[in-house]
Amino acid sequence: MNEQQPHLPLDGGASKPKPETAKPAAAAKASLPKPVLNHRSGKLLIGTRYWPTEVWKSPWSLPRYRAGALWLAGIILGIIGIGAAVGELAAWGDKLLVLMPKLGLPALAVAWIWVLIKLGCVIGVIVANGLWAVWWERKISAHIQSRFGPMYAGGFHGWAQTIFDTIKLLLKEDITPASADRVIHTLAPVITIAPCVMAFAPVLFGKELAAAKIDVGVLYIFAFAGISVIGIVMAGWASGNKYSLLGGLRAAAQMVSYELPRGFSVVPVIMFAGSLDLAVIDAAQAGYWFGFIPRWFVFYPVVGQIAFLFFLIASVAETNRTPFDIPEAESELVAGFHTEFSGMKWSMFFLTEYGYVLLSSFLLATFFLGGGAPLLPALKFIPSWIWMTGKAMSMMFVFLWFRWTFPRLRVDQLMDFNWKFLLPWSFANIALAGVVVWWGLK
């Protein structure tokens, strides 16, 4: 039967058959695999034409290759977006700072305007990163899962999807549950996001390119990043929901615990650089061994790799992402601490999460991957902000990649892993770093 009816129009034969010579495309269509017909009704079965056995002829259509291509594309787009915005605008900012006193503005006003501009830049980076990271995460997850992800909004690969999502979230009704504590419920997202913005002050976006030069930058960042947990506990407690409460308590336990190995894993870096200032840490990694191996801290034998891995793991835990997304484990606690939040309040939590992912990515790049230092001496002509943002984006890809690959740990396993493995070994790593410094391998 199939042989007699190779092409059955979808409308059941109502449309007129096209003449053979109508288009050259008709010849190409004839070479397509023969449509499958139900042997009894003779109806066309659409589903079977899209089997992966037919689609996956080329290895480049395999999900792992597509995700890899997306990794490269994402890094480039991220550099263009975040890096160019901060890196290229910085020069204009310096000109403005010189220009303002010349226009007759009082010194206090100049200082205030200057702080507001920098604050605007940081908030801009966080918000832009929210839009960017959500889109990138959706595309990465989709390609890892052999899907396409957003494809329609905006035209090119759904680039406008998160913008429309944001508009939707802004327009959504803000619901406060009847059993919630209204004041704390409203305050919680604010208290969560404010430290995230403040923690970005000393973050380097390139060589000597930061909103504020703080001598104890490392301590400052860890101190402010630790405050967000209060907002999360408040959110969990004020929602009047037992799942939220459990999520909030889990978040408190987890984030407080993982701050320790996160802090201690940076101690070797501080010992090598001899400073808590991010700019000094960045500068300490300039130069090359034998003229081609970069002196990045991640390349310091054993110590550097252990510190890097521990900082990466602890950062994933700090940002509540899989495999450590226990506070918002959706299959157990529905959505954990943000179950009862909607609209913009809910998106504040997400903005914070992606803000901290970006923060951790930049810190990883600064502490271990040489910051704005180029990979090879010959590549010095590329501006430092491109190197920095590129390294940060590739670290961010690791965060997103983890999420779509790993299952979730259990609460007690998470705590065991922290207290019985990460923490003692990060102490041992400090001792090892001491040996390295003592022997003068620095």
Binding site: N38, S146, A329, S331, E332, P407
Partner: protein, 377 residues
């Protein structure tokens, strides 16, 4: 200072338990199951499963419908694997009528049931990954399941509820095109199972979440009447396809995968291994499908089995699905009882959940692979 006053014993500390209502609207109760959990911190002190939110009275409805209409209703029991449900009813009625389906129909029944077992276990694997927090295997599982549903659609037009089994045979035949497509699917599917092993089954985090969790000893499993992979995960070798073969399952060479400890992981991996065995059965069945009719000759349009009682059971995807049929010679069953494996499997939860963490509730419940349509009937 009095040293005694500083010692805070556990008894003197006032701690309260909390009642946590899990379900019927919850992402991982797999439908409308409700679990009343009394938790002390995150540890379960008492668990009370509450079922019946999806009760449609299918057994009662069947008493007013003919047998072939009953097959339609039976599709709605375990909607993730609808083929064996109808088969159980047909087998019971065929026993009463002393009719056997022709060989080709029997081969088709085996073929469809095994394909459906793969589809059902794929759903399990995907959703269990989601329960544990791995979101990606779900999409992979559904990609393969989609191909099986396409095969079903080619054969009988249905993608979820097939209405394929008939008293004395099956509704639709297959053609060479179908067989070619099925082989194509098998070739695509076999390496994928190894891929799941690397992605999920042997992932260290996944194993640590499931390996020593929800242990059910062989004795407990038997005492609570578990069946299917849940029973075999505890190491009890009981498979209706082997112990009480129907539709010519004794013609096929396959193994019954058994677990060792009865942990969540054993139950999970039993199902993964069963997919491999199902592939073997399907390949063998495809290799020689007997020619001939697909319906037994001489059956009335509306069959009326003679008065009497019969029991037939099949190894459905989720366990031993039994049908007890009492007929009074009429066109509809006088009484039709379904031994729903999910319903009976679920009862053991109240015993094994106690002492576990809230996160483990999800892991244990997920490993039972329940379908509420069958639990509540």
């Amino acid at each position: 200072m009095n040293k005694e006053a500083l010692i805070v014993s556990e008894a003197s500390m006032h701690t309260d338990t909390m009642f946590l209502n899990m379900g019927p609207q919850h992402p991982s109760t797999h439908g409308v199951l409700r679990l009343g959990l009394t938790v002390s911190g995150e540890v379960i002190a008492k668990a009370v499963p509450d079922v019946g939110y999806l009760h449609r009275g299918i057994e009662k409805l069947m008493e007013t419908r003919t047998y072939n209409q009953g097959v339609v209703l039976a599709d709605r029991l375990d909607y993730c694997s609808a083929m064996p449900n109808g088969l159980a009813i047909c087998l019971a009625a065929e026993k009463l009528m002393a009719v056997t389906a022709p060989p080709r129909a029997q081969a088709l029944r085996v073929l469809m049931c095994e394909l459906n077992r793969i589809a059902s276990h794929l759903i399990f694997m995907g959703t269990y990954g989601i329960d544990i927090g791995a979101l990606t295997p779900f999409l992979y599982a559904f990609r393969e399941r989609e191909m099986i549903l396409d095969l079903f659609e080619m054969c009988c037009g249905g993608r979820l509820t097939y209405n394929y089994m008939r008293l004395g045979g099956v509704s639709n035949d297959i053609d060479d095109n179908w067989i070619a497509k099925c082989r194509e699917f098998l070739e695509f599917f076999k390496p994928r199972v190894d891929e799941y092993d690397t992605l999920l089954s042997f992932n260290p985090i996944f194993r640590s979440r499931t390996q020593d969790v929800g242990l059910i000893s062989a004795q407990t499993a038997k005492a609570w009447g578990l069946s299917g992979p849940n029973l075999r995960g505890s190491g009890v070798n009981y498979d209706v396809r082997k112990s009480d073969p129907y539709c010519g399952y004794d013609r096929f060479d396959f193994n019954v995968p058994l677990g060792q400890t009865g942990s969540c992981w054993d139950r999970y991996y039993c199902r993964v291994q069963e997919m491999r065995q199902s592939v073997r059965i399907i390949e063998a069945a495809l290799a020689d499908i007997p020619a001939g009719e697909i319906m037994a000759k001489g059956l009335a349009k509306i069959p009326k089995p003679p008065a009497g009682e019969a029991y037939a059971h099949v190894e459905a995807s989720r366990g031993d699905l039994g049908v007890f049929l009492a007929s009074d010679g009429n066109a509809a069953p006088y009484r039709l009882h379904l031994r729903a494996p999910c319903f009976i499997n679920l009862a053991v939860l109240q015993e094994i959940l106690v002492g576990n963490k809230v996160a483990d509730v999800v892991a244990i419940l997920g490993s039972f692979d329940i379908v509420l349509g069958e639990v509540d009937r």
